[in-house]
């Protein structure tokens, strides 16, 4: 899946959890969920659960550990989707 498509999906999922709509509008690979989007850490798990539902993947704890920014999140989704395709 194209990175742009994945970032757009992450943007849509992160939207309800951020109050910083300006930062959301300029979301890119370098965007940090907590520092830039000011998302509460208790809501990061919602983003992980929403991504699991949207992409039909299972995100393990080691992968979740990295999901503090858009770039790492894209990489986790790509890896999980690739693993899924191989099955």
């Amino acid at each position: 899946m194209d990175r742009e498509v994945l970032i757009a999906a992450i943007k849509e999922i992160a939207a309800p959890y951020t109050e910083d709509k300006t930062a959301l509008d300029t979301i890119n690979e370098d965007t940090d969920f907590i520092k830039d989007l000011k998302i509460n850490s208790a809501n990061l798990v919602d983003i992980v659960l929403d991504l699991e539902e949207k992409f039909g993947i299972e995100i393990d704890n080691d992968s979740m550990a990295k999901m503090l920014d858009v770039k790492s999140t894209v990489e986790v989704i790509e890896a999980k989707l690739a693993a899924h395709d191989r099955k």
Binding site: N40, N43, L44, V45, D46, L49
Partner: protein, 188 residues
């Protein structure tokens, strides 16, 4: 070092559906889930345990300089509560942090330190949440100057000695807490 975390219960009720499928299992160990589900108020126990974990996490992140999202690695070993306070221990990969918490009607706040005696000289200020909270703190404080480093970490300097003291700031919703130590320094 000090870590602290605050949860505005009104905001948490709006923002988080902790009963959502998969939510608790991703952030709480089996024992913690049991503590929560068996508590007189599960939602209060959840945010109590969460703030304990987050307070300890802030010490680890500051010490190591590494950020990662591993709530299950911060294991609440013990927690004892009455209606307005709690104390407990968080174990992170064998390192144990001491936690003290306040449970109010509208918010829950936890402080983490490494050793029990570190609690002795701690100062806690709740301030109204505003962009000018540093100025507010500095107006109230006789000896300390609160500033931020370029990387966004708080820095507290004693103006007579010039020493940098251990400090931690947390905010959520309407609440902001500043915790610092009269004895522990930034490097302790």
């Amino acid at each position: 070092m000090i870590g602290n975390d605050i949860v505005d219960l009104r905001k948490a009720a709006l923002e988080s559906n902790w009963q959502r499928k998969g939510y608790l299992t991703k952030i709480c160990t089996f024992n913690e889930q049991q503590l929560i589900l068996e508590a007189p108020s599960p939602v209060v126990m959840l945010w109590l345990i969460w703030t304990m974990k987050e307070a300890a996490c802030k010490i680890v992140q500051r010490k190591t300089g590494i950020r990662s999202y591993v709530p299950l690695s911060f294991n609440c070993e013990t927690v004892q509560t009455d209606s307005s306070a709690a104390f407990g221990k968080i174990n992170y990969l064998g390192e144990v942090f001491q936690i003290r918490s306040e449970i109010k009607k509208t918010f829950i706040h936890s402080i983490a330190v490494s050793a029990p005696e570190d609690f002795e000289h701690l100062q806690l200020h709740y301030l109204p949440r505003s962009a000018a909270y540093k100025e507010e703190f500095n107006n109230l404080s006789k000896f300390y100057l609160l500033a931020g480093t370029p990387s966004g970490l708080p820095e507290l300097t004693h103006q007579l000695t010039g020493q940098k003291h251990a400090v931690s700031i947390s905010h959520h919703g309407d609440y902001l807490a500043v915790v610092y130590s009269d004895s522990l320094l930034l490097t302790d």
